[in-house]
Symmetry: C2
Subunit: 369 residues, 2 copies
């Protein structure tokens, strides 16, 4: 990002635009998706996906299993859409069977889209998107499939084409290892084909001028050039490592973190091992303890930023992020900080046990050079 | 901007939020405005201003005197608003008399807002916003006053309170001397008081959650932290120099550029000296010449980025930017580049005359240290 500012209408600018847009689809396992990059938060892509593919007032189906699926739903409602919500205990994933049943019950095909959060950052749960796709197919329902991949894309396995995802949503500051400031959206051929027929009022997040100017290598408004250069470099890094190795690295690092949690005698918020997230672990504190105390001590005393419990999980969990540009020793330091903070907060854990469990696992599974 | 990433939910983050928001109003001559900062383009603040202050389908009044007033109008129309357009020759400013007449004719007070572009980047024209305010007052009309200040705020004199501006709009990459990526919006007390009653569907650009979380020092979504640090430093630089000196510097530098243009025997697009912009000069090429040739030679041969003529001005003008972090010698280099490019394009100008006229003026008016 550390470069001179430049003229985004110059003849040389399209080379950057193309380098970014041409290399984005492979990150989500797609050869057919059209990617878009906006100056925005990642969550702004919820709105961008919906207003460019669902007609005003349309009905959507959405399971709610954490704070981010909740916010995806409230965003849709703020935009005037109706949402049929399937409430699920936080710590579970998206319920494929209930989604299938709801779609089978929608004989008129009134439901226009299904909203999922691939990786619920709030609970540390990764949902099986392929299972939801299969449920939609079994119900023979034409609903579009919207997937928030903010804390999964570029870290976890994401198969946009195989899963039949219509809109995949992310931001710059997680798997892409960048500062915040970019929203990234991938659209299927079906969404692109319908774009011109959607009547939702839209301006900044209208994909039509973006599509038309991107095709020439430019942007409709002044693009955030420094962040685009950072994304270009992030794509180079991801492609050099290779997405299968990126995914394997995250799994191995996360498994070490989980072994530390279990060595402390604590439990994860995720209800089953099949739901464990490889990018974030939400850890339940023992009954009677307040996770906010742990988080506060970690920040003030040990310079460690832990995620807090959100909404109904406030005080019950703290979250350890392990995504993007991380390795064993960065996480060993983080796990030491968690252990120190737990002890300082009066939560009795065996000293050193967490780090020992994690490092033992990482040592056993290391690729030796 | 060159700092480690940080936790935007930490206890220390509100200090940055407050440093930025507390120091923004003085830049536009306001003690009462509420400022907002978004990850977006500057032009996204057109949309943000309108959807948070004008009810769906509302009628707006807008003079059109350049490409950016045109785009402000088309943005309003894309959002479902009706716009009564006053077309004015490009090179003129906003017509206060015609605005007064239109408002006087609106006996039912159906017009909800007047859209202005303070500095038309396309034509190098600065409009007298105070004169438009006086026209609205003479018509005793309650319309809100929206002012695009993208290429004026933080460079030119801007008196939000004195001019009775309700929404002032800008971005990070001009007067604030930063990379692109932030939209900045200032709202009057009247807009803030009406915020909760506006029924436009809105999500990312909804000012209500922004107002509520900003009050606590935070943002509703992940904010673009590196750009916020840059804005904080830009505010320190602007306050150190002082806005009256910033404005005077731009005027003096711009006057040198204009003397160069006249020494070349060329004319500005702005129709009268009272309209000359101190941030950008749009220069008409002689009949029969194509400004695109000048711009192309400047970029390829002399590494100089000139602005192009937009829409109906394509081929007729090239634009010299002189805003933000500029001084005499940077502009002397730019003027030499313009002169070389004009000569290369076969436009006969007296060699060295432009730079001599500019530097003579800057020498005469220099504050000696």
């Amino acid at each position: 990002m550390y470069r001179a500012q430049e003229d985004h209408r110059s003849a040389s600018f399209p080379a950057l635009t193309r380098s970014v847009l041409d290399r984005l689809p492979a990150i989500v396992g797609s050869t057919t998706a059209t990617p878009f990059v906006f100056a925005s938060s990642g969550s702004a892509m919820w709105e961008t996906a919906l207003i460019n593919s669902v007609q005003p007032g349309g009905l959507l189906l959405a399971p709610r299993y954490g704070q981010f699926s909740h916010l995806f739903i409230t965003t849709a409602e703020k935009l005037g859409y109706r949402v049929q919500v399937l409430d699920v205990p936080w710590g579970e994933g998206a319920p494929a069977d209930a989604i299938e049943a709801a779609l089978r019950g929608d004989h008129a095909h009134e439901i226009q889209g299904v909203l999922l959060v691939h990786n619920e950052t709030a609970t540390g749960v990764t949902t099986d998107v392929g299972a939801v796709r299969a449920a939609i197919d079994r119900a023979s329902h034409p609903a579009l499939l919207f997937v928030d991949g903010v804390s999964s894309i570029a870290s976890l396995d994401f198969q946009m084409d195989a899963w039949g995802v219509d809109c995949a949503i992310t931001g710059s500051q997680k798997g892409f290892m960048m500062p915040a400031g970019l929203g990234i959206l991938y659209c299927s051929g079906r969404v692109m084909a319908g774009l011109d027929g959607i009547t939702m009022p839209r301006a900044y997040f209208d994909l039509r001028p973006m599509r038309d100017t991107n095709a020439q290598g430019y942007y409709p408004a002044t693009p955030p050039t420094t962040l685009l250069w950072a994304l270009d470099e992030a794509l180079t890094m991801l492609h050099e490592e290779g997405m299968s190795r990126v995914v394997a690295r995250h799994h191995r690092l996360a498994e070490g973190v989980r072994r530390a949690v279990h060595a402390w005698g604590l439990r994860l918020c995720a209800a089953h091992p099949s739901l464990y997230s490889d990018t974030v672990s939400a850890v339940l504190v023992p009954d009677g303890a307040d996770a906010r105390t742990v988080i506060d001590i970690a920040a003030r005393q040990w310079n460690l930023a832990l995620g807090s419990g959100l909404a109904q999980l406030a005080g019950k969990v703290f979250r350890i992020g392990h995504m993007g540009d991380v390795n064993e020793l960065m996480l060993a330091g983080a796990l030491s900080g968690v252990e120190l903070s737990l002890l300082d907060a009066g939560i009795d854990v065996p000293v050193g046990a967490g780090v020992a469990a994690a490092t033992t696992y990482w040592r056993e599974t290391a690729v030796r050079t």
